[in-house]
């Protein structure tokens, strides 16, 4: 077995990536290289029948308000959250506003990101001002139009629940749409003052997507139907990245319902009238594969070994403060520990799927996607059709968690549609999904800290080894960063070299985020060594914090023990520069009864700031007959202004349960490059009987709102691991947590 080659992958050339800064939660295309276009591109769902004062809003003469949702709804409640902002400014209940997911257009780009993407828990943080501003502008225009039409002063008019009132006179806002459409948009419109909020900060219910989701009528990607749609299943190489050398269809192309058996860039597809026919047919096909060299040479054991060996290298420095080496020398005691975390699959409930209809120079794509512009780009690369001629329809997502920021499933579907010439739906099996993910990167880290005589930290040293997400994201996103004039073939050629071309220009922030930030220590040093066996990696709910939170918060517990201090008090002593995290830590500890566990129960605590939100959790566990049970999690969250309290609670619950699955079970293993796990029997996920009671405390804050989709996750694994230590004296330094 060869060892993992890290040569040349951690050099220090840092210039090129300035054009593509990647933050923990997602991609930020800082510089647009697209050429200037002379005429504005029309909005995807524009209509002559309605007034569209802003890309976000359409108002019809009948008084209907349509909101174009610029973000993907994958369960996190962004639809209801953003509709609430529109409702507030238009002074009408959220339920009166109809919602359509926006198509691809630069007007829907996330501010500062240069593309449409839902990730990094950024939707509320980045949309709060813009959505309110656009709705407030529409409101002012409607009132101006009514004032003009009725010959009264604007100040005498009131807008309420879709109507404009002047004394006893009442008319639908629809009556003023035509006039408003011709008025110049006012500048510097004021949004509603916080004191007048009618919906923001309250539980407005039900969620605007709730009725559809309890009646089975919500349309997910897998539910899309278009005329003459054929269904496809795809047989891929057991090792991701393998190609078809040759195949034997074994006569399945003659089976009733089967139309075609075709080879595409990564496998053999069967096209049939119905999914089951396609699925059964691919099982009989024999394929001779050309295996990818690097990944096929690796298995979990040698990857772990290479990551461990890499930690003896100096690595690249990603952060320095003071003199961490000198700090260690001057410490009265020091402590070292090594932690590790495995590769993980996302396992969204809805397997990957896509519908593609190529129509000559144009195309339509239906996809559950977190980044419709990237879906468009993938379809363009595979079909040769210009991006601007490809319309992407984003459906509901049956879970995202970062998986659907990558669009291999769109590329595959487009490739099959191109070679067969018919509208195609590709549906992945669960096995396809678990074995062809963009995995949460495995990670290993060494920590060394020094304490002074009073038990205060004076030096903090962290070094992480493992693969990076960045090269895989660049493979995906390069086409969007280049001018449209660059031919798709060249884009594809360049992007497939993303690994060698781009990795090593700088340290991927997602590889080191969270390794030192939360605590005040005078001397710090964080280093990184890349070890990449070639298993593709992606954004997985809370990204780098999903492992760094476990590492840091476990190590803090070890340091508390080492210095003879209570884990809560020890943390609080090092949080003077982090008052909001300190606050949630105190709140969670107090509510959970820190220091006074019930008989037979044990508590563990952890706190992590991620994606600008602050979360602390206390896990209450018991261990009987070597069986761990997590009974209760007390969680305190500060996410600034809370738009909808119950949605924030649901997201904390969701992050905790998703993180608990990873803490207790999650482990993707590799043998000769092939992922060994395949379905929910060997890639277990938390079930109801294992799910803890969760008590969420919300901090009442007037700070700007921040996201909640991910920040509930990072503290749970260390909180449980710390509770296990309290119960057993066993310090578990690897995920998933296995009682010894």
């Amino acid at each position: 077995m060869s060892t993992v080659n890290t040569k040349g992958l951690n050099s220090s050339r840092r210039n090129f990536l300035k054009l593509a800064g990647i933050t923990g939660g997602g991609l930020v295309l800082g510089v647009s290289l697209n050429g200037c276009s002379s005429a504005p591109t029309p909005l995807p769902y524009g209509t002559k029948d309605a007034w569209q004062p802003h890309a976000f809003l359409q108002l019809t003469p009948e008084g209907e308000v349509r909101f174009f949702l610029p973000q993907a709804e994958m369960g996190q409640g962004v639809t209801h959250g953003l509709v609430t902002l529109v409702a507030e400014e238009l002074n009408m209940p959220p339920s009166m506003i109809s919602v359509k997911v926006a198509g691809v257009h630069k007007d829907y780009d996330v501010p500062g990101a240069g593309m449409q993407v839902t990730g990094g828990s950024a939707s509320m943080r980045t949309r709060y001002d813009g959505v309110r501003q656009s709705a407030a502008t529409a409101r002012e225009l409607l009132i101006s139009a009514a004032a003009q039409q009725w010959g009264v002063a604007s100040g005498e008019l009131a807008l309420l629940d879709g109507k404009i009132n002047h004394g006893d006179r009442v008319a639908s806002i629809g009556d003023f749409v035509a006039l408003a459409a011709g008025l110049p948009a006012p500048e510097n419109v004021s949004v509603k003052p916080d004191s007048e909020f009618r919906w923001i900060g309250k539980n407005t219910g039900p969620r605007v997507d709730a009725i559809a989701k309890v009646t089975g009528s919500a349309e997910f990607g897998i539910d899309v139907e278009i005329p003459n749609l054929k269904r496809a299943a795809l047989k891929r190489c057991p090792v991701i990245g393998g190609k078809v050398k040759s195949f034997n269809a074994n006569g399945v192309d003659k089976v009733d319902g089967v139309h075609r058996v075709v080879s595409i860039y990564n496998g053999v597809a069967v096209l049939a009238d119905h999914y089951w026919q396609a699925k059964k047919a691919i099982e009989s096909i024999e394929v001779e594969w050309e295996y990818p060299e690097t990944l096929t040479a690796h298995s979990t054991d040698d990857i772990q070994k290479a990551m461990a060996e890499a930690l003896s290298e100096e690595g690249e420095n990603s952060f320095t403060q003071g003199d961490a080496k000198q700090g260690l020398i001057e410490s009265s005691s020091t402590l070292t520990a090594r932690y590790s975390a495995p590769f993980l699959a996302h396992a969204t409930m809805e397997p990957m799927n896509c519908v593609v209809h190529l129509q000559g120079e144009r195309a339509e794509v239906w996809a559950p996607t977190q980044a419709p512009g990237l879906a468009q780009q993938m379809a363009a690369e595979q079909s040769g059709i210009d991006r601007d001629n490809i319309q992407v329809h984003t459906t509901f997502l049956g879970g995202g968690f970062g998986r659907r920021a990558f669009h291999d499933f769109v590329a595959e579907t487009t490739a099959i549609a191109k070679v067969t010439g018919v509208p195609v739906q590709l549906v992945w099996s669960r096995e396809d999904d678990i074995q062809n993910d963009y995995y949460r990167p495995a990670a290993m880290a060494d920590f060394e800290a020094g304490l002074d005589k009073s038990g205060q930290l004076v030096s903090w040293n962290a070094k992480r080894s493992g693969p990076n997400i960045m090269p895989y994201m660049i493979d995906e996103a390069l086409g969007m960063m280049l001018p449209e004039a660059v031919p798709q073939g060249i884009v594809e050629w360049m992007s497939k070299r993303g690994y060698g071309v781009f990795d090593g220009w700088q340290i991927d922030p997602a590889s080191v985020e969270g390794l030192h930030e939360d605590y005040t220590v005078p001397n710090k040093s964080v280093n990184h060594v890349t070890v990449d066996p070639g298993l593709r990696c992606g954004y997985w709910r809370s990204v780098g914090h999903s492992f760094s939170g476990f590492f840091v918060e476990s190590f803090m517990d070890e340091l508390a023990l080492k210095s003879g201090q209570d884990p809560l008090q020890f943390r609080l002593k090092h949080m003077d520069d982090n008052p909001r995290l300190k606050n949630v830590l105190k709140l969670a500890a107090e509510k959970a009864g820190w220091g006074q566990p019930k008989p037979g129960r044990f508590l563990g605590i952890a706190a992590v700031k991620s994606f600008e939100s602050y979360v602390a959790e206390v896990a209450e566990i018991s261990i009987e007959n070597q069986t761990l049970k997590v009974h209760k999690v007390t969680c305190a969250v500060d996410c600034g202004r809370v738009v909808n309290p119950d949605i924030v609670r649901t997201q904390m619950e969701s992050g905790i349960n998703y993180g608990l699955t990873a803490a207790l079970y999650g482990d993707i293993t590799i043998k000769d490059g092939a992922v060994q796990e395949s379905n929910f029997h060997d890639y277990q996920v938390l079930r109801m009987s294992e799910a803890p009671d969760i008590d969420v405390i919300l901090v009442d804050s007037e700070e700007a709102p921040t996201g909640v989709g991910e920040p509930g996750l990072p503290p749970i694994a260390p909180a449980v691991a710390n509770a296990i230590f309290s119960a057993t004296g066993q310090r578990l330094r690897s995920l998933p947590l296995k009682l010894g």
Binding site: D209, W276, E653
Partner: protein, 168 residues
């Protein structure tokens, strides 16, 4: 030709007998509420009722339901006529991504038919075949308790026509 009753109507199909009921219902009868999640009966997203019992239809050959009564989520309640379990789901703000919820609801309805007043333990054991990756489990449990109470008292848990309220 295989015939069965689907949400109260008689339907028939000439698909091969081993075709899973899930795909017949989704693609031949165009009812998309029941979802594909694992294909192995491990996750419950495909749950329907067969003669009143919850079954995993991704592994149930259509021949096995011949002449029987099949009910899907579309058959238990609609937007203007919600089942008490669907109302409870809304009241407790259960669905997040929503993909597993048709299956969860069908399991919950079957549970309450068999056991009108289930304990936490009864609920956990009956519902443990239904996976939710958004982690809505504690709300599902509360919603089932609410639905059980409402069923016996006749209380409406959610009325889509009632005016919207905002509560702190």
């Amino acid at each position: 030709m295989i015939s069965f009753r689907l949400n109260g109507e008689t339907v028939s199909t000439d698909v091969p007998a081993d075709t899973p009921l899930l795909w017949v219902v989704r693609e031949h009868f165009d009812l998309k509420g029941s979802k594909f999640g694992c294909g192995k009966g491990l996750c419950g997203a495909c749950t329907m009722h067969f003669n009143g019992s919850a079954i995993r239809t991704c592994v149930m050959p259509v021949a096995a339901v011949a002449d029987g009564e099949v009910t899907t989520v579309e058959g238990i309640g609609q937007a203007d006529n919600l089942h008490i379990v669907q109302q409870a789901w809304i009241k407790h703000n259960v669905p997040q991504c929503g993909y597993c919820q048709s299956g969860q609801i069908m399991s919950a309805v079957a549970l309450l038919e068999q056991n009108p007043n289930p304990s936490d333990g009864d609920i956990e054991s009956f519902m443990s075949g239904n996976i939710c990756r958004c982690g809505t489990y504690s709300r599902i449990k509360q919603a089932i308790h609410s639905a059980a109470e409402a069923k016996s008292s006749g209380v409406i848990l959610f009325d889509p026509l009632a005016p919207e309220e905002a509560t702190a």
